[in-house]
């Protein structure tokens, strides 16, 4: 096979974009004087789980918000499930969903009422059955007819996850999905997400500060710092590159500007 043959058998950028769940190209977001996201590019294949890591202000939430179409980029391109965002969002919003600490479910409505409203918005077929299934899967049955405002933080997180899964999304965007859960429930939610991904070939992008969660769930990690991508690889490769045994140590190295435990400036 000649080099030309090899080149022609490789997928083009357009083909890669069409098969990818998310393609981000040279994305920039500037708020007045602040560059919240600074020229980032990545592509997530369908069926993958990717962790977006970074300290506060690293640009994770802004990146996810631009992917969702909640924030307009200053420049760059976002393509989701083969459609340009936000111009073609009508074609994809019904096929994706999200959970974020920046939004809540209406407090006065019961869990069942909330899921009914969102199920109808997403045109879920056999809605009552889907709600029963989610209640069973996420252990909501006990409080399904209780107002959302009367639930514990952990229960609310599970309800938000149920809302995020109501339409069986092909793409799931999660911002700190287990932040307020006890270790047992958090572990159980992670297992549920893993199972959901396998059964549905869903793509999951999650922003998290929980390194163990990312190590366990993600087959790829994107580390952000000050709006830029610092590293992008499998968890194992990143840990090897930083000569560390946990992602937490890598996170601290990146946050504090160290390489192999040595401050970059001192090297």
């Amino acid at each position: 096979m000649t080099e030309n043959d090899k080149a022609s058998s490789r997928p083009t950028v357009a083909e890669r974009s069409a098969s990818a769940a998310i393609t981000v190209e040279h994305l920039v977001k500037v708020y007045k004087q602040t560059r919240a996201v600074d020229d980032i590019s990545f592509s997530l294949p369908r069926g993958s789980i990717t962790g977006l890591l970074g300290g506060n202000g690293a640009g994770k939430t802004t990146t996810i918000a631009m992917i969702m179409g909640l924030v307009l980029p200053t420049s760059g391109r976002v393509q989701v499930l083969g459609h340009r965002m936000p111009a073609e969002s009508a074609a994809v919003l019904g096929r994706m969903n999200f959970e974020s600490p920046y939004v809540d479910m209406p407090m006065r409505l019961t869990v069942r009422q909330n899921l009914t409203v969102f199920g109808k918005l997403y045109a879920v077929k056999h809605l009552a059955g889907r709600i029963a299934e989610l209640a069973d899967d996420l252990d909501l049955t006990e409080f399904i007819d209780r107002a959302n405002g009367k639930l514990s933080a952990g229960q609310k997180t599970r309800v938000a996850l149920a809302k995020a899964l109501i339409n069986q999304p092909e793409l799931l965007l999660l911002d700190e999905p287990t932040a307020s859960l006890d270790p047992d429930t958090a572990d159980w939610v992670r297992a549920h997400l893993e199972r959901y991904r396998k059964e549905n070939n869903a793509t999951i992008l999650l922003a998290s500060h929980n390194m163990l969660e990312v190590e366990r769930l993600c087959d790829r990690v994107i580390i952000m710092k000050r709006g830029r991508i610092e590293d992008d690889d499998t968890p194992e490769a990143i840990m090897a590159r930083y000569n560390r045994t946990t992602l937490e140590e890598v996170f601290l190295d990146v946050a504090r500007g160290r390489v192999n435990g040595v401050k970059e400036a001192a090297r």
Binding site: A90, D104, F118, K163
Partner: protein, 272 residues
């Protein structure tokens, strides 16, 4: 929530889902329901007694029976119509639910249509008992206005929606720090729309401003009907034309403010 939805089809199911959401909310709280009745009832009682007092002491008002109480009822249609629209919108901001809606397949036009339906439902809960109270206590039957009442109602409700759409866009763009506009903007219209007095009372230059506001036509039309027994269809048609322009302008402003909110990142914060 996607922009430019008008030509892509409107989903009745999604509008129905939003109405269901507000219905659940309304039914979950009896103080909210009570409040819908409380203020209109208070208004009609206060102004009804004032009208009785004036009618006993002034020949003109004795002749123009019901203009004050009629004005109160029509003003409440305008004011509560806008509040009914805006409060449903604010519920989403207070609940921090706007991000969930924006990320759902719900389109802006569907969202706004559901708010319009809710304003009618909330208005009906407040205004129907108010009109019955006026009938029982002050023998003023607003329904005796007949078909013109429908023309007055439509013009007032269209204006209330235009204002509601515009202020919702402002809150979306500027967060809950702009909430006070929701409660106060309509009062800026009150003196210019000539609710309780004819347009001729205003200085000539201000009369031009008054005639640019559709509610002015409804209040003038009501007075013409009650005092001169004349239905001014020309006024209603003029008001309808201005209302159509206002609705289009307010929807365009809403989309522009939504876009600005997305540029500014306001949809993520939503607060002050």
């Amino acid at each position: 929530m996607t922009e430019l939805s008008l030509h892509r089809g409107i989903s009745v199911h999604r509008i129905g889902a939003m109405i269901l959401r507000y219905w659940y909310l309304l039914m979950s709280s009896w103080p909210r329901l009570l409040e819908l009745l409380y203020w209109p009832a208070l208004q009609v009682i206060t102004w009804g007694f004032l009208q009785l007092y004036i009618a006993e002491n002034a020949n003109f008002f004795a002749r123009a029976g019901g203009t004050l109480i009629g004005a109160v009822i029509l003003w409440d249609i305008l004011f509560r119509g806008q509040l009914g629209f805006s409060i449903s919108f604010l519920e989403e901001m207070w609940a921090r639910n706007i991000g969930n809606l924006m990320m759902s397949p719900l389109r802006p036009i569907e969202f706004l249509l559901s708010l319009m339906v809710m304003s009618l439902i909330r208005l009906a809960i407040g205004i129907i008992p108010m009109t019955l109270l006026a009938l029982v206590m002050f023998h003023f039957n607003v329904y005796a206005l007949g078909l013109p009442l429908i023309a007055f109602f439509c013009n007032l409700i269209f204006t209330s929606w235009s204002v509601g759409i515009f202020v919702s866009g402002l809150v979306l763009r500027n967060g809950l720090g702009a909430e006070s506009i929701v409660w106060t903007l309509m009062f800026a219209i009150l003196p210019l729309a000539c609710v309780y007095y004819p347009v001729s009372v205003l200085p000539v230059w201000l009369q031009y401003v008054a005639w640019a506001l559709p509610p002015t036509y409804a209040f003038e039309g009501m007075r013409a009907l009650l005092i001169e027994n004349t239905f001014r269809a020309d006024l209603m048609l003029d008001a309808l034309a201005i209302n159509a322009a206002l609705l289009v302008a307010s929807f365009a402003a809403f989309l522009a403010l939504l876009r600005s909110a997305k540029r500014n990142g306001s949809l993520l914060s939503g607060g002050e």
